[in-house]
Amino acid sequence: MRRRKVCFVSYGSTEYSRKSEASVLTHYADAIRQALERAGISKKEIQGLSITTQASPDFSPHVAEQLGLELDWVLNGDYGGAGGVMSVRRAADAIEAGHIDLAVLVGGNSFDRSTPHQRPLEYQRANYVDVYGYGGPNSLMALIQRLHMERFGTTLEQLGRIAIAQRENALNNPQALFRQPMTMKDYLESRMISDPIRLFDCVMPCSGAECVVLASEEKARSITDKLVYLVTDAEKVHYQVAEMIPDKTTFGIKVVGERLFREVRREEIDLFEIYDDYPIAVLIQIEDLGYCAKGEGGRFVEGHDLTWHGDFPVNTGGGQLSVGQAGLAGGFLHIVEALRQLRGEAEGHQVKKAERALVTGIGWLNYGRNLGTTAGLIMERRQ
């Protein structure tokens, strides 16, 4: 459905670091403060707050108390890597319904390997996956990548093109943790993690936070003259969940894309911020979005230049593969980069014609399938 009057008005990103003494709350506060300062918004104007994290404390009222926010709307946008896009959808609903005029949405993490990662127990994962010595998301994507390679002849070199293009995009992004060029040899020779997934297929866990500020059109006009509208958005949760033999090489993004492109033509998108926990996830989403036929993704990425100055710009700031994944800031990184591009503020990696961006989020590993949560949105700059 086309949105009528919801705008992105600001954003904030912390520095990313491998480890951090600072708590996730401090990262949140840094990202929010930066977003407020960028737009000249006072703390008192915040009516809504959404948080997206895998770490404790993870309740939005608790976070609001710590940050001193009195609110009319809160959300725990904990939908895995789709949490960013799905939080935007829910905040936009609240704005369109007239409940609030302005919401701050934040995602982040403080990563430290020395403390065990605590998550609520999901019994199917505990009883039917972990007991076998599973390798986590790396293994899930390995199962999917193997199927894609065997079925469609997708090659490691084709997947490497995605990782390498994103690395080139990161070279001029000061936020990125990886800013040295990557060669095909580097990619192909990186350490094997869960065959056929190698080290340079995987995002690096790190610390940091991302924030976006969403407002009603009227409120947005009082804040900025760089108006970026939320045009349309969609989600699909647990696609194929009742299928006992699912097609692992197609995500819910297929349905999301069909809905998005009812409102905006596929050809009208200038840049793509595609959730990239792995190159194979990017490739499958390009297929599912219909930019090529299923199975043709490998040939598609061979035939296009995916860098910020190319003909099909993907993850123009380097994506999570080169910037790092600060927990569920990952779902916001792509929205923030799209916003930077549409506002003409992506210094050193600015896409020439950046009027319309497509952003996706995917997350939540489900049993024997692929992804539980998938979502997408289209943003547009207007005068």
Partner: protein, 139 residues
């Protein structure tokens, strides 16, 4: 900074929904749920039929055979307690009853595994006398 806690190989935490499954496995039988209303067979065990949402689910014994749908060699397990067993051949098997099952491939010849290979269930002892893990071997 807190020191990393030493983790053990995890075991299933049996609950009322999947108790028959684990009791079956301990007795060397692979059990699946079948809906008494629509007849759909499903895995993993759940409180409802995911097809018709019926709540009357029976347990049937699977033949224990299937084919390799996909596999990966886990070199970095999420739980470090499994490190000395790496590389672990983690598989998706499509059972002949038409459900997908995640497990591990063990035994002779598993280093040559490929998609479509036929497999048979086996039951692996664990540190708990009540729990055996359904794993697969090349048929």
């Amino acid at each position: 900074m807190a020191e990393a806690t030493r983790t053990a190989r995890s075991l299933p935490k049996i609950n009322p929904v999947d108790r028959p499954y684990w009791e079956g496995a301990a007795a060397g039988r692979l059990l699946l749920q079948r809906c008494n209303r629509c007849g759909k067979v499903q895995f993993f065990p759940r409180p409802v039929c995911v097809e018709c949402f019926g709540g009357d689910l029976a347990w049937i014994q699977a033949k224990g055979s299937g084919t390799i749908h996909s596999f990966t060699w886990v070199r970095v397990p999420r739980n470090p307690a499994f490190k000395d067993e790496t590389p672990i051949c983690y598989v998706n098997v499509i059972l002949d009853e038409g459900v997908i099952m995640e497990s591990r491939l063990v035994g002779a010849g598993c280093e040559r595994v490929k998609l479509g290979d036929r497999v048979r269930v086996a039951f692996q002892e664990t540190s708990s006398p009540e729990i055996k893990l359904p794993v697969f071997e090349l048929a």
